[in-house]
């Protein structure tokens, strides 16, 4: 596995931020074990063993030597911090962004959001990040971006940032009141609610048109 040169400290991902998924799950949220809808962003870490690069082959998950039955992938706009960001308002949040990139989150299928999903989300090399950080000054409005993901050339998702429960500035502000973000920390602000199923050997490519792309291959056991 290759550590990514972009993310240095923390890679924080936001789950359940696709507004259509969030709406569709309202009934489920009211049942056990959740009992009520989340009032806060639902966050998880991709720890340092997961960080990976553009072009990398991502290992297929195994357990006890046996190949996992299924895996999925989602792509997110990656907000890369350029300076320390502590308790900032939504209005000033974007001033702390050094630039933008893309993250792939390869994982086991998201079966439950009740407990931290270490087994599903912490697989070695499962978080490739784009090879470049596009300077924040070159992105007029991150809310206007759309992340398109293709598997073997076929489009599997189109996720406009504008169709998320919480936008970039709001998330930066809220997260900065929980944890101080350092230069090189990254927030993956949201993934399509329907993660794309993948198979061994698949080519996964995501792009924000005209801004950045990220290409990975799924390994074989």
């Amino acid at each position: 596995m290759t550590n990514n040169p972009i993310v240095k400290g923390k890679l924080v991902c936001v789950a359940l931020n696709d507004a259509s998924q969030f709406e569709a799950m309202q009934a489920e949220f009211n049942e056990a074990p959740y009992k009520s809808a989340p009032t806060q962003p639902v966050l998880y870490f991709k720890p340092h063993n997961t960080w990976n690069t553009e072009g990398a082959t991502v290992e297929w998950a195994t357990s006890e030597g046996a190949a996992a039955e299924s895996m999925v992938v989602g792509a997110s706009l990656a907000v890369v911090f350029g300076e320390e960001c502590c308790r900032v308002s939504q209005d000033e949040a974007l001033n702390y962004v050094g630039g933008y990139s893309l993250v792939h989150d390869f994982s086991l299928p998201e079966v439950s959001y009740y407990r931290p999903d270490i087994k599903g989300k912490c697989l070695d090399g499962s978080a490739p990040i784009g090879s470049v950080v596009v300077p924040a000054a070159d992105v007029a409005d991150p809310q206007a971006l759309t992340v398109v993901t293709k598997v073997n050339g076929e489009t599997v998702s189109e996720m406009p940032v504008s169709q998320m429960v919480r936008g970039v500035a709001e998330l930066i502000s809220m997260i900065s009141y929980i944890m101080t973000l350092q230069p090189g920390d990254v927030i993956a602000i949201g993934f399509p609610g329907q993660r794309a199923p993948i198979k061994q050997g698949d080519k996964v490519s995501s792009a924000i048109a005209g801004v950045i792309e990220l290409n990975n291959v799924v390994g074989r056991v």
Binding site: G9, V42, F45, H48, I118, D124, M179, L181
Partner: protein, 257 residues
């Protein structure tokens, strides 16, 4: 040997802690008094911080949970780390913040698919942490979530990392917390449900463990709310006593508040 990191005259120093409590610079052997330093987290390059929920049989009962059949593992960010004798803050407008005195196993060697039998070869040593939690912020999503468990300063750790061989058997170490001098938590690692070798095996089946990764093994019963002004001492027999001062959110963040 006890390994610590301190701030002395504005520089970060790697030191050992001598029998008499003096600190000895690893670089030049200089002896330094503890009163002249600021303690830092003893882990120089912190890796993944794993923490266990409900991992003591008595604590699971206290929280009215069935002991888990599988470890409840969550991750914490490195922003949570702070050293011995440092401040940790109580967020504004909450009802309940509690300490959690925990034995931490620090990984010293990279490994994947490590067997229980070999697990201790991958542990460099131990330290103590205080894995504070804000109960008000619990929600049933990735519970316990980052808002509860990944806040700045709310994982004091230290005072030092002690070599594994200097501790020996860790299966029955007394675990205590004193708040303002009063004993409030008194347990033993004998009540741990999933022990260190099990956890090393379990986690390394999922992912590669690396030097600097830490496994905080959970806490026994004895929860108590914390208030600014409180002094909390988390101690584990043979390992060390970690002292923390609770301050308000405003005092902690100062100009950034």
């Amino acid at each position: 040997m006890k390994h610590a990191r301190v701030l002395f005259n504005g520089s970060e120093l790697d030191v050992t802690v001598e029998e008499n409590g003096q600190l000895k610079s690893k670089a030049d052997g200089q002896l330094i008094n503890e009163t002249d330093v600021t303690w830092l987290s003893p882990i120089k390059e912190p890796g993944t911080i794993f923490a266990l929920g409900l991992n003591y049989a008595d604590h699971a009962r206290e929280l009215a949970f069935e002991p888990p059949k599988e470890p409840l593992v969550f991750l914490k960010g490195s922003n949570t780390l702070t050293g011995h004798k440092q401040n940790a803050y109580r967020p504004d407008n909450i009802d309940f913040q509690h300490y959690e005195c925990e034995l931490v196993a620090v990984i010293g060697k990279e490994g994947k698919n490590i067997s229980r039998e070999d697990a201790m070869d991958y542990v460099a040593g131990y330290t103590v942490c205080n894995d504070f939690a804000i109960r008000d912020y619990l929600e049933n999503y990735y519970r316990p979530n980052l808002r509860v468990k990944s806040r700045d300063s709310l994982l004091p750790i230290g005072p030092w990392l002690i070599d594994k061989d200097d501790v020996g058997d860790i299966t029955d170490l007394r675990v205590t917390t004193h708040v303002n001098g009063e004993l409030t938590q008194d347990g033993t690692t004998a009540d741990i449900i999933f022990d260190v070798p099990f956890l090393v095996e379990y986690l390394s089946k999922i992912m590669t463990l690396k030097p600097g990764d830490m496994i905080a093994t959970g806490t026994p019963e004895g929860l108590k709310d914390m208030q600014p002004g409180d002094k909390v001492v988390c101690e584990i027999e043979k390992i060390g006593a970690l002292e923390t001062y609770i301050v308000s959110e405003q005092e902690f963040y100062g100009d950034k508040y």
